[in-house]
C-alpha cells in the first residue's frame, strides 16, 4: 500500500524534525509523520480527522485538544500483550512503527452500526443507570444490559501478561517545579542559579509549554529559542534534574509527590533493562506548581463534531507541529486569547471565514487585523450549531439580532476561556476559589511548602508569568536556605486577556455536549436539575459528568456554570467538585512496579533450604517463609503416607525438623527477669540458669497473643522464642513495654531470628544421635542434661551451638541451634550420623500431627479470640505478680467458665474423617446457628492411634467428657458424630519426655 502524503503539513513551520520521517499505522492504514509529532498531529497532517466513536452514542469524534485533557481522541496503542487502551493521541509521541486503532466502533470507524444509539438517547440520558433498573427485570437482563454493555465502553485491555518491566524510585530536592512553561522555566532557572537542588518535570516530551505553541518573543528571541537556552543552562547545573515525559499525578503529605515517568512509551519496545515507566516519589522542601491552564470549550450544538477544536490547540498544531487543522476556519470565542487565533490561522494560509465573539467590544487591533484579511466579524454572536455529520461542513451563526446564517467551514476554533490547572493544589484538601473577573477557579489555601505561579494561578500574561515564576523560584530557594542570585527577567509583552464569561449557547438545535468523553449534554444537566440533583456532587454522580478518564478537565467548569445558571445561583455559591489523585490515569503496572508475581513479597529461605530441596521436600508458604512441609520418599504417592511415615519415625526412632523460622529474641540486662515477669503470664525471674520454661503472653485486653519458650543462660541473659507468624509483632510489643511502659528497667532486646539455624531432634534415639555431634566434654546424659535443660556448647568440632531440651512432639527431644551459616552443614551431618538410628527429616505436617496428638495449641487455637483459660493454660497465670493483660483477662466475660475451651475429639465411627471448621451441635439438635456450641480448630490423622483426631473449642468442655456431638460441616457436606475426649491423645503422663 502506498503511504498517503502529508497533505495538511505546512512548509517551514513547526518544531518537528523533517529529517526524521516516521511510519505509523492507524486502523491498519500506513501513514508518515516526523520526529517531534504526536499521534494526533501526525493524523491531522495526513488529513485524518475522524479518530474515534463516543462512549454512549457512538458519535463520530475527532481531536479537540493538543494535551492531556483530551476527551475524544482515545486510541488503542500497540498490539498484543502491549496493547494499551484509552491512550490519548494528543500526548502520544510518534515513533517509527507505532500502531494505533480507533476504539468503540462496530464494525468500522466510518461505518458504525451502533451509532443508532443516538436514536435511543432518551434511554441513555442523565440517570439512566438508575432509571433503567426501575423497569421490569426481565426487560433489563434480556435487552438493555447486554445492549448497553456492548455499545458503551472504551478500549480493550490487553489479555496477556504485560511483558515490560516497571520501576519505582525516590527523588529528593529543595525545589520541585511542576510544569515547564514560561513560569515554570523561570522558577527553575532562578532557583537553580542559587545552587538549590531543583527537579523540573513536565508531562510533555518537550519543555516549554505554550512557548512552543504560540508565536511569542522572550528576551528578544523566539519563544522556542529562549526555551532551548534556558534548558541548556539548567542542564549545566549538577544539582538540577530535568524530567520530561513525567506527570506529577498527586500531592501527598510532607512535600511528597507521586509522579510517573514514561521512560519508554515513545519507543516500540523498551531497550533491554529499561523499564517502560517509572513511578517516582519526589520529596521536596518546596514545590512550585506551574502547570498552566487548560482552555475550555463553549457548549453549542454538535460541538463534538470532528473539526471543532480548541483555539489553543489549533495554534499548537499550526505553530508547534506545522499542521493545518483545517482549510477554512470559523473562530468562536469569548476572550482575547481565543480571538487572536485568527492571526495564526491567517499566518498559516488558512482561510478564516468568520470571527464570532460573544462580546460586543473586541480589541481594536483584532478588529483591524480581521478587516485587513477579509474576515467577517460577528460581535455579540454565537456559533449555535456545527453542521455536518462525520465532520464539520459549516457553522450556524446566530447574530446579536437573532438572525441565523450558515457559513461554510471545516474547522471551528472555539475558546470559552481558560481553567487554571489547580487540581494538584487541591489534593490535600484545599478548595479552588472562583474569581469572577477571570471567569476561572484559582487555587485557594495551599499546602505548606507549595506555591503556584503563572497561568495555573490565573496570571495569563506572558511577561507576568515570567516575572511571577522568577519570584516564586527565588522565594523557594531563599526559604530553602540559599542566597538569592541576581537574575534578570527577560523582556516580554503581556498579551490582552479580556474575557466575558460565556458557557452555553441556548439557541443550539442539536445535542450540545458538556462532557464529551462520557457523552453528557447540556440537556442532561438540565434534566438532572429538574429532577432535583442541584448540588454539584449530585449532578456529577447522576449524569456521570466529569467521571471519565479525563476527570472532566474540559467539562467540569462548564457543567458547573450551566447548573449555576439553571439554579439561579452564582458559580461561587454552586461550588466545585474536588480533584483527587491521579491528575491523569496511572497504569497499574507503574503502581505495581517490580512487585509482580513472586516478587510481590520477599521469599525467605531457611539456611538448610537447599538441602531440603535436594531431598525433594514439598514446601509450604508460612508468612514470607518457605518451609518444608513433608519429604516424600520414592514410592510414596500421597502426602498422608509420607506424613504418617515421618510421625512413626519420630515416635519410634528419631526425626529432624527445621524450626529455624521461630522468632528469637535475646533479652539482656539486670532487670531482664523482672521484665519477662511483666510480659509473660507465668514467672520467669525464678527460672534457673541453664533452664527453659514454656510461656504465654497476653495482649493488654486479656486475649492470648503468643506462646513460646524462655531460656536463661545467665542471671542477666535470657533468650526467648516466638511463633513464626508473630516474630515481628512480639518484638514490637516487647519494645513498647520496654521503652514506653517501663523505661527505667535495665533491659535490652536483640532480635536474632535470622542469626540461628535451629532444628528439632526428636524421638527415642534423639540423644544417641546428638551424642555423635556434641564436642567433649559436654555431657548429654539424661542426668546431666534433663528435660527443660539448656546449654551453650560446641558441636561438630568447635562450632558454637545452643542445645535446648524441649519437646513439641511429646517424645524425648532437643532443639539444637548453630549460627545460620552452619545450618546446612548441621542438617547434612545429622542425616549422615543418624542413618544407623533410622533418622528421617520431618516437615510441618508431621510437626502439626504430633502437636495435635499431644494437645498443644498453635495458630488455629491462638486465634485472637481465646484467653489463656480458653486454651487450658489458665493455671499457668501467676497470681503473685502483675503482667500485661492480667487486669482485663479477669473481666467477667473472659473469666466465664462456660466460654468455649480447647478439648479433644475423636470420631465415634473411627473410620470417619474429621474436618477443621466443623461446628459442634447437640447430637439430636437441628443444624442451625442457635444450636452452635463451638467448632473444630485443628484435625489430623493420627498414625499413632490409627484414626482421625481433633482439637476444638467447646462450651463448658471440662464437664462434658464422653459426650457425643455432631460435627457439622455444611461446606464439605460433613456431618459426623464425635466424642469429647481429653486434649492429650498420646503419652498422657508425659513419661517419654523425661527419659
Amino acid at each position: 500500500m502506498t503511504q498517503s502524503a502529508q497533505t495538511a503539513r505546512l512548509k517551514d513551520r513547526g518544531l518537528i524534525d523533517r529529517s526524521q520521517s516516521l511510519t505509523f499505522t492507524f486502523d491498519g492504514v500506513p501513514y508518515n509523520g516526523y520526529a517531534g509529532d504526536t499521534l494526533a498531529s501526525a493524523l491531522l497532517a495526513n488529513g485524518v480527522r475522524l479518530v474515534g466513536r463516543s462512549f454512549k452514542y457512538h458519535r463520530p469524534r475527532g481531536i479537540l485538544t493538543s494535551g492531556s485533557e483530551e476527551p475524544n481522541a482515545l486510541v488503542e496503542l500497540r498490539s498484543g500483550a502491549r496493547r494499551e487502551p484509552n491512550t490519548k493521541a494528543t500526548i502520544t509521541e510518534l515513533y517509527d512503527g507505532l500502531e494505533a486503532k480507533s476504539q468503540n466502533r462496530f464494525p468500522s470507524l466510518s461505518l458504525d452500526l451502533l451509532a443508532v444509539n443516538g436514536l435511543l438517547s432518551p434511554f441513555l440520558s442523565a440517570g439512566f443507570y438508575y432509571k433503567t433498573f426501575m423497569w421490569p427485570a426481565s426487560f433489563w437482563e434480556k435487552f438493555y444490559e447486554p445492549m448497553i454493555r456492548r455499545a458503551a465502553g472504551l478500549g480493550r485491555a490487553a489479555q496477556e501478561h504485560d511483558p515490560d518491566s516497571y520501576d519505582k524510585a525516590f527523588a529528593f530536592c529543595d525545589i520541585l517545579v511542576v510544569g515547564s512553561g514560561p513560569a515554570g522555566l523561570m522558577a527553575a532557572l532562578t532557583a537553580a542559579r542559587t545552587g538549590a537542588r531543583v527537579i523540573l518535570v513536565d508531562e510533555n516530551f518537550a519543555f516549554g509549554g505554550r512557548l512552543l505553541s504560540d508565536v511569542r518573543t522572550v528576551g528578544g528571541v523566539k519563544g522556542a529559542d529562549w526555551v532551548n537556552s534556558v534548558v541548556a543552562e539548567l542542564r549545566s547545573f549538577p544539582g538540577v534534574r530535568l524530567m520530561p515525559r513525567t506527570t506529577v499525578f498527586g500531592a501527598y503529605d510532607t512535600g511528597t509527590f507521586g509522579a510517573v515517568e514514561r521512560v519508554a512509551d515513545h519507543v516500540p519496545v523498551p531497550a533491554a533493562g529499561v523499564p517502560r515507566q517509572r513511578l517516582w516519589r519526589i520529596v521536596a522542601k518546596h514545590t512550585i506548581i506551574a502547570q498552566g491552564a487548560m482552555e475550555r470549550p463553549i457548549v453549542f450544538g454538535n460541538n463534538d463534531r470532528p473539526g471543532v477544536m480548541l483555539a489553543s490547540a489549533v495554534r499548537t498544531y499550526i505553530n508547534r507541529f506545522g499542521v493545518k487543522p483545517g482549510e477554512t476556519a470559523v473562530v468562536f470565542s469569548n476572550n482575547d486569547d481565543g480571538a487572536s487565533t485568527i492571526e495564526d490561522l491567517v499566518g498559516a494560509g488558512i482561510r478564516v471565514a468568520a470571527l464570532v465573539d460573544t462580546r460586543t467590544m473586541l480589541q481594536p487591533a483584532t478588529k483591524s487585523f480581521a478587516r485587513k484579511h477579509g474576515i467577517r466579524i460577528f460581535e455579540g454572536a454565537v456559533v449555535a450549531d456545527a453542521i455536518g455529520s462525520s465532520r464539520v461542513t459549516s457553522a450556524r451563526i446566530v447574530g446579536a439580532d437573532g438572525t441565523s446564517q450558515n457559513i461554510a467551514c471545516d474547522l471551528i476554533a472555539v475558546s470559552g476561556g481558560f481553567n487554571p490547572s489547580v487540581q494538584v493544589t487541591t489534593h490535600l484538601g484545599g478548595r479552588a476559589q472562583w474569581q469572577q473577573e477571570l471567569a476561572a477557579f484559582v487555587p485557594g489555601a495551599l499546602p505548606k511548602g507549595m506555591a503556584v505561579s503563572g497561568s495555573a494561578k490565573g496570571t495569563f500574561g506572558l511577561a507576568s508569568c515570567l516575572k511571577e515564576g522568577a519570584q516564586a523560584g527565588e522565594a523557594a530557594a531563599v526559604a530553602s536556605g540559599f542566597q538569592a542570585a541576581a537574575s534578570a527577567v527577560p523582556a516580554a509583552d503581556d498579551e490582552p486577556s479580556d474575557i466575558s464569561a460565556f458557557w452555553h449557547v441556548k439557541t443550539a438545535k442539536h445535542k450540545a455536549f458538556v462532557d464529551q468523553q462520557n457523552d453528557v449534554t447540556a440537556a442532561d444537566v438540565a434534566l438532572a436539575e429538574r429532577e432535583g440533583y442541584r448540588s454539584v456532587e449530585h449532578l456529577k454522580r447522576y449524569t456521570t459528568l466529569g467521571m471519565a478518564t479525563d476527570q472532566g478537565k474540559t467539562s467540569n467548569v462548564n457543567g458547573l456554570a450551566i447548573l449555576a445558571q439553571l439554579t439561579g445561583k452564582t458559580i461561587a455559591a454552586t461550588g466545585a467538585t474536588s480533584a483527587r489523585p491521579p491528575y491523569t490515569p496511572v497504569s497499574l503496572g507503574a503502581l505495581a512496579g517490580e512487585h509482580r508475581g513472586k516478587h510481590f513479597k520477599a521469599t525467605r529461605l531457611t539456611p538448610s533450604h537447599d538441602w531440603a530441596k535436594e531431598r525433594g521436600a514439598a514446601f509450604i508458604e508460612t508468612g514470607m517463609w518457605l518451609r518444608a512441609q513433608y519429604y516424600p520418599k520414592p514410592g510414596e504417592n500421597d502426602w498422608l503416607t509420607t506424613v504418617c511415615r515421618e510421625v512413626n519415625t519420630v515416635r519410634n526412632a528419631v526425626g529432624v525438623c527445621d524450626v529455624s523460622t521461630l522468632g528469637k529474641i535475646e533479652i539482656h540486662g539486670t532487670d531482664a527477669g523482672k521484665f519477662l515477669d511483666r510480659v509473660y503470664i507465668n514467672m520467669m525471674s525464678t527460672l534457673g540458669v541453664g533452664k527453659a520454661r514454656y510461656g504465654m503472653m497476653l495482649r493488654e485486653d486479656g486475649i492470648a497473643m503468643d506462646d513460646g519458650t524462655a531460656a536463661r543462660f545467665a542471671d542477666d541473659r535470657y533468650f526467648i522464642t516466638t511463633t513464626t507468624a508473630n516474630a515481628i509483632k512480639v518484638l514490637q510489643h516487647l519494645e513498647l513495654c520496654r521503652q514506653w511502659y517501663w523505661p527505667d528497667l535495665d533491659v535490652q532486646l536483640f532480635p536474632v531470628s535470622d542469626q540461628w539455624a535451629q532444628y528439632s531432634v526428636a524421638g527415642p534415639r534423639a540423644r544417641d544421635l546428638l551424642a555423635k555431634i556434641v564436642d567433649a566434654p559436654f555431657d548429654i546424659s539424661n542426668a546431666a542434661f534433663p528435660y527443660m535443660a539448656v546449654a551453650e556448647l560446641t558441636v561438630m568440632g568447635g562450632i558454637k551451638a545452643r542445645l535446648y531440651r524441649l519437646s513439641f512432639s511429646g517424645e524425648m527431644a532437643y532443639e539444637i541451634a548453630v549460627p545460620a551459616r552452619q545450618g546446612d552443614r548441621l542438617m547434612r551431618t545429622l542425616m549422615a550420623k543418624g542413618e544407623e538410628f533410622g533418622v528421617a527429616p520431618y516437615g510441618t505436617e508431621a510437626l502439626g500431627v504430633m502437636r495435635i496428638e499431644k494437645g498443644h495449641v498453635a495458630g488455629p487455637e491462638l486465634n485472637g479470640m481465646t484467653t489463656a483459660g480458653d486454651l487450658g493454660l489458665g493455671k499457668m497465670a501467676s497470681t503473685k505478680k502483675d503482667f500485661v493483660g492480667r487486669v482485663l483477662s479477669q473481666r467477667p466475660g473472659l473469666a466465664d467458665p462456660t466460654r468455649p475451651r480447647v478439648v479433644g475429639f475423636r470420631p465415634v465411627d473411627r473410620s470417619a474423617r474429621l474436618r477443621g471448621g466443623a461446628h459442634f451441635i447437640g447430637k439430636d439438635d437441628a443444624a442451625v446457628a442457635q444450636n452452635d456450641q463451638g467448632y473444630m480448630t485443628s484435625v489430623a490423622y493420627s498414625p499413632s492411634l490409627g484414626h482421625w483426631i481433633g482439637l476444638g473449642l467447646l462450651s463448658g468442655a471440662e464437664s462434658r467428657m464422653g459426650e457425643i456431638l455432631r460435627a457439622f460441616d455444611p461446606v464439605r457436606n460433613g456431618d459426623v458424630l464425635v466424642e469429647v475426649v481429653p486434649a492429650t491423645f498420646v503419652d498422657v503422663e508425659g513419661a517419654r519426655l523425661r527419659v
Binding site: T254, T256, E735, L736, P743, V887
Partner: protein, 98 residues
C-alpha cells in the same frame, strides 16, 4: 507523610507502624479502680481532630517507639520525640509530685 525520627532522620511513613494515642498512660494495675482504668485505657479512646500525640514505631529502622505530635486534620507533624525519653520524664515528674 514523613516522620523525622530522632535517631534516623526524616523517613517515609511506610517504615513506621502506628499504635494510637500517646497522651494516655497505662494505668496502675495495683490501683483499686484498675478494672475501670484498664477498660478505659483499652477501649475509651478519643477521636481527636487536631494536634494529637501518637505512638509510632520505627519498624523498618531503629525499632524506637516515638511520640509524634500530628495534626490529624492535615497530617502536619509538629513534633517527634523518643517515647522512652518522654516516659522517663513522665516518671520523673510523677516521682517529684509524690
Amino acid at each position: 507523610m514523613r516522620i523525622n525520627c530522632p535517631h534516623c532522620g526524616q523517613r517515609s511513613n511506610d517504615e513506621f507502624s502506628y499504635l494510637g494515642d500517646a497522651s494516655i498512660v497505662r494505668p496502675d494495675p495495683a490501683a483499686p479502680n484498675a478494672n475501670e482504668a484498664f477498660y478505659a485505657f483499652g477501649y475509651e479512646r478519643a477521636n481527636i481532630a487536631g494536634p494529637m500525640q501518637e505512638l509510632w514505631y520505627h519498624a523498618a529502622g531503629c525499632h524506637a517507639w516515638l511520640v509524634v505530635t500530628r495534626d490529624t486534620r492535615n497530617h502536619e507533624i509538629l513534633d517527634v520525640k523518643s517515647a522512652q525519653e518522654v516516659a522517663l520524664e513522665r516518671q520523673k515528674a510523677a516521682g517529684t509530685a509524690q
